[in-house]
């Protein structure tokens, strides 16, 4: 087939961009490495976590790994949600897309669905001022949020204080929250007025998780979440959106072709279209294809790698955005010694938005998780106690333990960068003094809020830069002054090219503290629409 467009990457951005292009009738190919290993997740019995723990003699396979006795890396402290059934998400990264850095430690992926294969499914929308700072058009994005929410299925409440401007208008009913989250919501209701005055709002988490079936009666039907608390291990009736569901749907269309095990190296913008060179990772063979348009959606680090290599821009620094991230284990006093219900999901139960005075209107954003299905050993290894004593503490605290993940807003500075070095992509990341002061103030304020909610902070853990898995800004939309070498036009087209578009969060100039994935998908639709319109011209 004659190709109108090639999409690079099958993550949330790539999947949504491809869907927009295919629905517009274009001939589309997707180049993707696409590692996938669904067998382990599919083999897990569909019963609640607590029942599995008591009944399944084979549980070590999915809790520790297929070779749990020999290889269980129970001491890996980063990325607890990359459980053994999700190990494929990180497969091949060190070999094929290494990053050299002593200050930035990101997660990237070559999986089918990219990092979206392990997405926690938080689905907030950006507010108008956040969209404007990021360089995204407010009216079009708000329409596209609903297009995406309808397509992937987002559940949430439009009644909560956090929902005023942070949730799509098209949502399924909110998911049921667990006993722990209910007590926190009750504490919030009692102190709501004072907390709102302090700039804090709490609500149920909007999630790309179904509470009602979607596409019922079709071959792409997805079910509602079974509340088995196994969402870090299984696909849970496909209730939590994964980009591969979109790819599966597209593969049934005659105008879409999925080319797997293809690692894109570079592109060449020519008179007859864009020539894309890629390597087949199975045998190392070099291949290429040509299309009228190229849509880069490989995640901000890989998109930058491809664009810099294509421009032969060795040593040229591009900006890098990544939300600083802390997590705060807390003890919810109201739950100490109390029982919890068996039926619940494992994702964020609540979200909190904190707008302290020193941020000038910017939000600090937090997700509240109840701790259960990630097992005791991840807690015990953090305690300065002998394991037997640590286990006692863990068992007493388990039902009261609330993990609060706090994301801080992020802006570009000269100390956060990526560049192409002689041996591959390099990155540097350092917060300046003002940012460190702001973050320290965020955390002090947040600790007060948590205590008011009855959640006593036990520790505040600073994660290494890159741990938030929220990346952006490597090829930003041009702002007119002080721009880096590679920039995008406002419609996502790569400046200096007529045929290459950037459809992931590489083009953003600012990264709010909220989860960016829903916005990435809406933006990918927007950029794909611009690519479709370019054919009309």
């Amino acid at each position: 087939m004659e190709l109108d467009a090639v999409v690079v990457g099958s993550g949330p951005s790539g999947a949504q961009a491809a869907k927009e292009l295919v629905e517009a009738g274009l001939q589309v190919a997707m180049l993707d490495v696409g590692f996938d290993e669904p067998a382990l997740a599919a083999s897990i019995p569909a019963v609640p976590f607590s029942e599995l723990r008591r009944t399944d003699p084979d549980q070590r396979r999915y809790f520790l790994g297929e070779n749990g006795d020999a290889d269980a890396d129970v001491n890996d402290r980063i990325g607890a949600h990359f459980t053994p059934p999700r190990a494929f998400i990180k497969r091949g990264v060190a070999e094929y897309i290494p990053l050299a850095s002593d200050s930035f430690f990101p997660e990237t992926s070559l999986a089918l669905g990219g990092l979206g294969a392990g997405w926690g499914s938080g689905s907030q929308t950006f507010e108008p001022f956040e969209l404007e700072r990021a360089g995204l058009p407010v009216v079009e994005m708000r329409e596209l949020y609903d297009v995406v929410a309808r397509d992937i299925g987002v559940s949430g409440s439009r009644e909560d204080d956090t929902s005023e401007t942070s949730i799509p208008t098209v949502v399924q009913p909110p998911s049921a929250i667990d006993t722990n989250a209910r007590t926190i919501m009750a504490a919030y209701a009692r102190k709501r007025e004072a907390l709102r005055c302090a700039g804090f709002a709490l609500g149920r988490a909007p999630l790309a998780m179904l509470t009602e079936p979607l596409r019922k009666g079709t071959s792409f039907e997805r079910g509602s979440n079974p509340y088995n608390d196994m969402d870090f291990y299984t696909e849970s009736e496909r209730s939590i959106y994964r980009p591969k569901y979109t790819i599966e749907e597209l593969r049934t269309r005659p105008n879409f072709r999925y080319i797997e095990r293809a690692l894109v190296e570079r592109f060449e913008d020519r008179a007859d279209g864009v020539r894309v060179s890629f390597r087949d990772v199975r045998d190392g063979s070099e291949r290429s294809l040509t299309a009228a348009r190229l849509i880069l959606a490989a995640n901000p680090l890989n998109t930058a790698r491809i664009a810099l290599r294509s421009a032969n821009a060795i040593g040229v620094k591009q900006p890098l955005l990544c939300n600083p991230y802390h997590y705060i284990p807390t003890m919810n006093v109201a739950m100490l010694g109390r029982a919890v219900g068996d039926r619940r999901h494992s994702l964020a139960q609540l979200v909190g938005s904190y707008t302290p005075d020193h941020r000038g209107g910017e939000h600090v954003f937090a997700a509240f998780f109840s701790y259960h299905s990630l097992l005791n050993f991840r807690l015990v290894r953090e305690m300065p106690l002998p394991p037997a004593v640590g286990l006692l503490v863990s068992r007493v605290l388990m039902n009261a333990l609330t993990i609060v993940g706090v994301h801080h807003p992020e802006r570009a500075t000269s100390d956060k960068w990526v560049r192409l070095g002689a041996s591959g992509l390099e990155a540097g990341y350092a917060l300046d003094a003002c940012e460190r002061v702001d973050i320290a103030a965020d955390l002090r304020g947040f600790a007060k809020v948590l205590r008011a909610l009855g959640c006593i902070p036990l520790s505040t853990i600073a994660t290494p830069p890159g741990s938030s898995i929220h990346y952006a800004g490597t090829i930003p939309t041009a702002s007119g002054s002080g721009d880096p070498a590679l920039t995008c036009a406002s419609d996502g087209r790569l400046n200096g090219s007529q045929n290459v578009y950037v459809a992931d969060s590489s083009s953003w100039r600012y990264l709010p503290a909220k989860g960016p994935t829903l916005t990435m998908m809406a933006n990918a639709r927007r950029v794909a629409r611009a690519a479709v319109r370019s054919f009309e011209h």
């Binding site: 006795d69 010694g337 097992l375 290894r381 002998p386 004593v389 068992r395 007493v396 039902n399």
Partner: protein, 65 residues
């Protein structure tokens, strides 16, 4: 504090035991009311403080060897 944390070998044994179905119940949350929970936490704190010097000595001695 890092010196007092369990070693990788201890944690590997711990994780294997936790995922052994025969021991599942001894890893379940303790639900006995807030008073018992506070007493257990206090006892665990005392046990941790008592054990700390021995753990430290064992680690330091082990490291020198």
């Amino acid at each position: 504090m890092n010196l007092l944390r369990p070693t990788p070998d201890q944690m590997r044994r711990f994780a294997l035991r936790e995922t052994d179905v025969r021991h599942a119940r001894s890893f379940e949350p303790i639900v006995a009311g807030p008073v018992v929970a506070l007493v257990l936490l206090a006892l665990a704190g005392i046990a941790g403080v008592v054990a700390a010097p021995f753990v430290l000595l064992a680690r330091l001695f082990g490291a020198r060897r």
